[in-house]
Chain length 315, copies 3
């Protein structure tokens, strides 16, 4: 079954993208300014953080979904497309506050990194409907998700006085909830008749492993990027906690996966999602972890819960 | 149709490579010296730039051409081979000037980075004839291209007093012109009877995406690597301009690609080349860009021009 | 022929992994402490070294073995699993000494990097039996290898007063010898009847190239990571020597590979192993190299020896 896009997709996608892009350029022409004062050390420091987040967002999330049969090739393209839209939109929205106070939005590596974290949240939400939604829907979803995320963070920060450090937690929770709601709405639509694009292919599985491996490697950067520089011991703690939790998750996920499988085989797709559970769990609770064993115990629990959850939800 | 190498390829390739390599080792034994005075901070700084350029040259360009049916596997091998030859040759040629003045060629990370940029130019030229030329031809082409590039840069710098900052521009232009001439010569040879190796394969397309994604991620490093350290605001400007231009290119390329296609489908191979157009365009004009919107407008224009160009040239 | 795991694999693998993991968590709860004093510059410096070693160990070694027909997909999973076990075990064992003197094991990026180097040694040994051993055997092998490696290093350092700088050499030699012994034992077992999983597949070859390319790119980090920071010129020397040796190896391996092949074709799998020979050879002799040409000559010799060795051993 070939993908059934509405015949009018062409007439809608191109104008939508061109209008959005023109709008972004006009806004940037009016309000964006490059930062002109910058310290040599800060630049070097932010640059490597910027690179790491970039790798996570573009490569990690892009290749994570390539195990879908029909979707492998296009998922990397769609991911790049929605990431490019989301990060521009997030750059504008996160700058609104400074626009109110200073009349312009300063663009530097810090603001690009924050925009990419919003993008990551949007890609988590989009990941749950990849293979079900067409590009026009994906574009709209991403715009809504980023708006919701930025608004939500602003409300939490100004009304409820939540510390900005927790925004990594927010990112995963908001992305996951948004994705969950989306899946629920789209499934309800009655289109239950088998999403052929969701089928799994062994060859493409390797690309999916590649995506997982990159997420695994750069997760410590992801969890430590928003820890401020003047508390280096916290940053170190976040990095080593994440590393330990990921290692424990990998071992535990393999064990539970073998236990759950009727034939006692390692289910690698299942293992992939659960390995990352440790990283998410530590990211969410990073400010409460003080000793290495706490991180390891969290990784252990997260892997067991997510493997069992994966097993029973997919039934 | 199996690849039709001349029967004498074996008798020519191995001696050519061994002679070249022996020559390089003799030259290095006579004139190369390791730098012995180095600052701890400089080392760390140059090291990450060296890594980023390395990733671009070896991985990015290596996997960009894997979408060719028969060529996927060998293109990564040939790319590594010609990159290794080109960077050694460039290391020698770019050191000739300091050899005249000081009697020896100092090898440090700075000189390796410059040599790798020459290599990048050679790989751009080689990319246009991959799948048409055999390894012996590729080796000769690469040696000529590097010699031409270094000579050209030297002439521009000493005779025309062009600033060294523009050498990124030079790199793309020289590489592209050289490649264009090569393609013209090789096509004229009458071997128009269908290059089977140029056919496209869906599975290998994913590897090509991987190459594109790596180029996308590390392009900001590429455009900022030659900006001197004592102007950090310029470096920051080059990084964020490149990022914005790439994001705008991705969105615009998708839109124009849908408009151009008869069935309104996203042509991902086409999209891949055009996404990178934004990076090239910003790299060429980096010293003239002062505001974010200028970078975004350049990315927009570059993507439209290159998508339309791609469409009509391939007809 | 489907893989013939013992029917009791399921009943053994899961309990083994869960017991090991629980043991590791208990040990960490009793003795692990996070480092709390850390300098901002040191953190940044160690962090990038940690990332590079991580990429080598998880991605490089993980994808290097994907060219085996049946093993491609699972080899990345098994590699991640054994790497996670090995690095936790190594973190504990390398901390035993400081536990004797201070009563606790301090976890910081330095200790994680050292643990990952032990893991690399274990993965080299495991690489020689991938496709022959089941996950339970792999787990046991990895635990033994790490214990042997740490014990061996401790004996050399305390009894024979060998300098710690040479531990990169130790890593390759110990890993290779351990792997060699393993292969010998496993082959002797009489299971000579064709390891179908060892067959080669063209498509998966690209993934193997990817692994090679990553090892190639990050080898300079690998060879320089243990050079102390207060001798930056040595670090620079290690980086540029490794780069030159790798470039020379690539060219020489291609030439010798063409000479050895009956049809004069490039054998890329063979080329892949030999390219890396240069990196290993330079790593082993890094403290004895003072001039660039010495590194290049070592790369040349290593590539010739390993290509010829590969050719005659596989017969």
């Amino acid at each position: 079954m070939a993908p059934q896009y509405a015949p009018s997709l062409r007439s809608r996608l191109a104008p939508l993208l061109l209008c959005l892009q023109t709008l972004f350029i006009i806004i940037s022409a009016l309000y964006f300014k490059n930062r002109v004062t910058v310290n040599k050390d800060d630049l070097r420091n932010f640059y490597s953080e910027f690179q790491d987040v970039n790798v996570m967002v573009i490569l990690g999330f892009g290749f994570l979904s390539t195990f879908l049969v029909r979707h492998g090739f296009s998922s990397t393209g769609f991911n790049l497309l929605v990431a490019a839209i989301a990060s521009q939109w997030a750059l504008i929205l996160t700058g609104v506050e400074s626009w109110f106070s200073a009349g312009r939005i300063t663009v530097d590596l810090k603001s690009i990194v924050v925009a990419e974290l919003c993008t990551a949240s949007a890609l988590i939400a989009v990941g749950s409907v990849l293979g079900k939604a067409n590009p026009v829907q994906l574009t709209v979803i991403v715009l809504l998700e980023v708006s919701g995320f930025v608004l939500n963070e602003w409300l939490l920060r100004t009304l409820l006085k939540v510390r900005p450090l927790s925004s990594i937690m927010l990112l995963h929770i908001f992305g996951a909830l948004f994705g969950f709601t989306l899946t629920w709405i789209m499934y309800r639509k009655g289109s239950e008749d088998g999403f052929e694009k969701e089928k799994f292919d062994r060859k493409s599985g390797l690309f999916s492993s590649l995506g997982t491996v990159f997420l695994w490697m750069f997760w410590p950067s992801f969890n430590s990027v928003l820890v401020p520089d003047w508390t280096p011991w916290r940053k170190l703690g976040a990095v080593s906690s994440t590393y330990l939790a990921l290692a424990v998750s990998a071992v535990t996920a393999a064990a539970v996966s073998v236990l759950c499988s009727p034939k006692g085989k390692l289910n690698l797709i299942q293992m992939q999602s659960c390995i990352l559970a440790g990283g998410v769990a530590v990211g969410v609770s990073t400010s409460a972890i003080h000793e290495p064993w706490e991180a390891m115990a969290i990784g252990f629990t997260a892997a067991i819960v997510s493997t069992i959850g994966f097993k029973y939800l997919k039934k």
